[in-house]
Every structure is written in C-alpha cells, then in structure tokens.
C-alpha cells in the first residue's frame, strides 16, 4: 500500500497535470493569434476567387463559429473543448471536409507506426550493441574509426541527411522508388507481393532514420560504457579473473543500458511528431504527411488533434516506463 500512496499517486497526479498543461496550451495558442479565424477562413475563400453573397457569408460565419468551437465565453469554450476531447471527438477536418479528424489519423497512423516502430527498435538495438562494444574496447582501431564516423554524421540536421540520401540513391543511382508508401494504384492486401512492395518503398526512409539513430545511440552508449568501465567493481572483476565476455555483457553493458531504456521510451513517444520530416522528404503517406498538409492548408482541428494525441502518447510512454523501471534496475525498489 505504501507503494500506491508514496509513488503511484504522486506520479499519476504529475501525469495528469502535464497532460492538462499541454492540452491547455493546444487550446490557448490558436486563440492568442490576433484576428478571428472565422473571418480569416472566409477571407481566404474570397482571395481564392470564389464569390460569396451576404446571406451565405452569414450562414458560414455561424457554421464556422460552431466548428471552431468559438461559441460563448472563453471559459465556456474551454469546458466544451475538454468535453469533446474526453469523448475522443476532435471535430472535422477543414481541408478534407466533413471527414472526422480521428478517421484521418486512423488511416495514416499504421504507416507511421510500421515505419517508426521498426526503425526505432533497429537503431536502438544496433546502436547500443556497437556502442557498448566500442566503449569497452575504446582503445582499438575499429572503435576509433566508428567514433569518427559518428562524429561527422551526428550533427547533420536530419532533413539535409535524408535529402542527400534521396538524391543519391533514388535520383542518381535509381535503386529505390523516389516517393510513396506503395506503388501507385496497388490495392493493399495481405500477400507477399504487396508486402515486398511496401518494404521496398519503406527502405529508403527507414535507412535514413536508422543511420542517424544508430549514430546517436552509438555515441551515448559508448560514453556510458566508458564511464562504467572505470568503476571499481569492473576492475575487481578483471582482477578476480572473471571471463571477459561475462564482464562485457553482465557487468558493463548491463549497467550502462539503463539510461538507454529511458531513451527508448522517449523515442517511442516521439513517433507522433518525429515522422514529419521523413515523410515529407520521401512523400510517405503517414501521420507526418497528414500534418504537413494540415499545416499548409491551415487545418486547425487536424493539427490540434495530432498535437493533443501526441502529448497523451508521450506522457503515457514515460509513465509506463517509470512504473516498469524496477524490472530493469533492481536498485530501485518501491517500498
């Protein structure tokens, strides 16, 4: 019971507070903007050249006010906003009118999840494995060479990196398709052909994510292992003649991996917003492309929907991780 009172409840309170602050920000930010979104939308329609007579304009003002959730005082709006969120209603998209935001997210999410879950896991595993070994054998030549490569790749902004990879492997050498998630016009069914096609299209975006991800994980893990390596218990184990493979895996990497598990959870949380640039560069049909189109067309409901969902996803990922942490780190005990 002390666990519930001392750890679980404060942690849950913090969890809900952070979600509350985040979602409130999503509510407040659009309302800080000078100008009325309703009139802005109408002005935009007019500037595109469509003629609107006064009666239609009045109707539109009414409808748009309702759609944007702008009825009543600020406080009423705020309550209504939460009421709709709790029911999972993010309203309808303006750009792809009357499709509900949730449905649009539902269509795009599988693409993004498939791509990012795979690449996150792959780059985490590969990066930590190589990084751990390179950290333990940090005086060896191969370890220094790998470190040098990571030092150059790491600071390059992801956009530039992905862009360069696309130019090289899709335009110059034409090894991979330039864009899309599957061949145009292909019906998505569960058979080998479709799977291979999807894999082929996902390869280049995945490659760009994995290379950068490996570089980052490699560096942090290498540093961590070097720190653990200079601890007394490692020296003692060496002096005591413990087998080297046992020292590497059970003594050094086992200890160094702990902060990396936090990193893994954080990167799972980033999946919602992390795919934006990848999907734009490679025209991949996921959540990022959806968000990009929403940004370009000023589709507020859709942006707010994606932002709100990603706030919940990230905080939940961190909460679950915090509660599971004692499983990996026996030094932490909730008593």
């Amino acid at each position: 019971m002390t666990f519930v009172r001392r750890h679980l409840i404060p942690r849950l309170v913090q969890y809900f507070l952070i979600i509350f602050v985040g979602i409130t920000a999503v509510f407040v930010i659009p309302r800080l903007a000078p100008g009325d979104p309703v009139y802005r939308t109408i002005a935009e329609l007019r500037s595109r050249g469509s003629y609107l007579d006064p009666a239609t304009v009045d109707n539109m003002i009414e409808d748009l006010t309702e759609m944007y959730g702008l009825e009543g005082s600020m406080f009423d709006q705020y309550l209504a906003f939460w009421g709709r969120l709790v029911k999972g209603d993010f309203g309808v998209s303006f750009f792809q009118f009357p499709t509900p935001v949730l449905q649009l997210i539902g269509i795009s999410l599988p693409w993004t999840l498939g791509l990012l879950l795979t690449t996150t896991l792959l780059s985490w595993t590969i990066g930590n494995l190589i990084g751990g070994l390179a950290g333990y054998f940090s005086q060896k030549r191969w370890s220094r060479i790998l470190d040098g490569i990571a030092m150059v790749i790491r600071p390059i902004p992801y956009y530039i990196f992905a862009f360069g990879l696309l130019l090289l492997l899709a335009y110059v050498f034409r090894l991979f398709p330039v864009s899309g998630g599957a061949a145009i016009g292909r019906r998505l069914m569960f058979n080998l052909d479709t799977m291979l096609d999807i894999l082929k299209h996902a390869f280049l975006p995945a490659l760009s994510l994995v290379i950068l991800g490996v570089a980052i994980n490699f560096q942090t893990m290498k540093l961590m292992v070097q720190n653990v390596n200079s601890e007394d218990f490692v020296r003692y184990a060496k002096l005591g003649g413990v087998k080297e493979s046992k020292i590497v895996w059970h003594y050094v990497i086992r200890n160094a991996i702990l902060p990396q598990i936090t990193g893994l959870a954080l990167s799972f949380g980033q999946i919602f917003s992390g795919a934006l640039i990848t999907e734009i560069v490679f025209s991949y049909p996921g959540l990022g492309t959806l968000l990009y189109n929403a940004i370009r067309t000023g589709d507020y409901n859709l942006i707010m929907g994606i932002t709100a969902l990603s706030i919940v996803a990230i905080t939940t990922a961190i909460l679950i991780l915090d509660l599971l942490y004692p499983l990996w780190d026996p030094r932490i005990r909730y008593t």
Binding site: I277, I295, M304, I306
Partner: protein, 284 residues
Amino acid sequence: MKLLRDLFRDFRFTLSFSILCILVALALLSLFSPYDPTFWSVVPRDLKPSWTYLLGTNSKGQDVFWQATFAVRNSLILSVIAGSVSRVIAIVVGMVAGYLGGGADRVLMFLTDSLLVIPLFLIIVLLAMLIRDRLTLPLLGLLLAFFGWAWDARVIRSLILSLRERGFTQTAILTGSSTLRLVLNEYTPFAMPLIFSTLINNMSWAIGLEMTLAILGLVNIDIPTLGTMLNWALNYQAILLGHWWWVLTPVVLSIFLFVALYWLSVSISEYLDPRTRTQRVGAQ
C-alpha cells in the same frame, strides 16, 4: 591564455574554430554586398558559377554568393538571439531552483519537465503558423528561446545543488555575503564553462529548427537564411533543372556550420570533464 592553449591542443577544436571564423567572416562580407538580398532580377538568371558570379546566380535573378553571405549572417544572428535569451532563462531558473530548493524548486522543475515532455516541435509549428507573416528574425529567435531552455535549466540546477553542499558556500553565508552576491560571485565562475557549452548546443538546435520551419514554409521566406535559401531552391525545382550550385550552397554551408558547432561543444565538454581532460593535457 592557458585555457585557450589547452583547448587548441585538440585538433577538432582548432578545425571547428577555424571553420566558424571563416563562416563569421562570410557573414561580415554581407555588409559589403553590392545587391539588396530582397531584390529580384538584379543579375542574369540561372548562370553557372564563374569569375563574375562566384557561386552562380539563381532563378530569382540573385547572386548566390551574396545571398549566402546574408543567409549565414541571419542564421547566426537568429541562433545568437535564441541561444543567449534562453541561457538567461535557464540560468535564472536553474540557479533559483537549485539554490532555494523546496517549493520553488518543485514548481520550477514541474514547468521544466512539462516543457521537456510536451512535443515542442508541434507547438512551435502551431505558433509559427499563426504569426508567420509578422515573424521577424528577432521574434523567431525569442520564440525559439522561450522553448529551448528547459534541459539546460536542469543541468545548471544540478550543478548548483552540488555547489551548495561545498564548504565555501557555508563560509560565504557565515561571513554575511548576500545570496545574490554569493550566486553571482562564487557560483558563476563554476557555471560559466557549462553555460558556454550548452549555448553552442542550443545555437545549433535553433539553426536546425529554423531550417525545418523554413522548409515547411512557416517563416517569412523573404528574409534570407540557410533554411529559406533551400526553400526557394526547392520551390524552383533547382534539382530537376540541374541548378546544383543553388541547392548545394545552403546544404554544404549548413553541414559545415553544424559539424563545426558540434565539434566545438564536444571538445569543450571533454575539456570540462576532469577524466577526459587528464587524457588530453596530462595531469598537472
């Protein structure tokens, strides 16, 4: 002077420092530009690099070399604004939370953690969308500064927490120096190198974020920066038309800038860590 000599022993520091000096010189050249960067059609369009036009000209009728000087200048100005303002916030929050502890610490750290957890990029996108047309360079810098201090405030706080337990803190308090003087005179020298290394990281973050926003078209694309330069090149299909000098200029410049900033910060933080410092400069 000794500090500088020790730092320059690392070839990465020397190299990245020189690259940064060249880039700053490039930025200063913009003061002597014969053209206004916002004007179109001042030179013939789509010319390859030649002696007259060092890096060629673009489809907007601008000289790519002089555009690049303005782009580097504006990107650097932006990063300095974002970096220095967010440093001030981070230092104040970190020092107050670390020194006072208790309730102030809990409230400030809750704010910090919220900022760390919330998908900032999406929030910045939301904000930038709303004020895109009025988004001047200093304003964008302030916006990035407002979101970029959280992690460094935590780092500074933990430093202050450890300094507070040291003997000289007790001595200072017992001899009656005020809290402000204690923090300013006694703690700042310890925090300075750390603040400097986080400043570099933050500058590089700000430039990268500006590039991303520019490519999404979320900043005022009439102000030349490394990001907007690339945005224009992509909008004019410079890749398909083979205008490589237009696309590659911002790409290559930004890679140099990012790698230089990163190496500088790694080199400085290695110097700060006593374990790696002894490997480098030898025990003294």
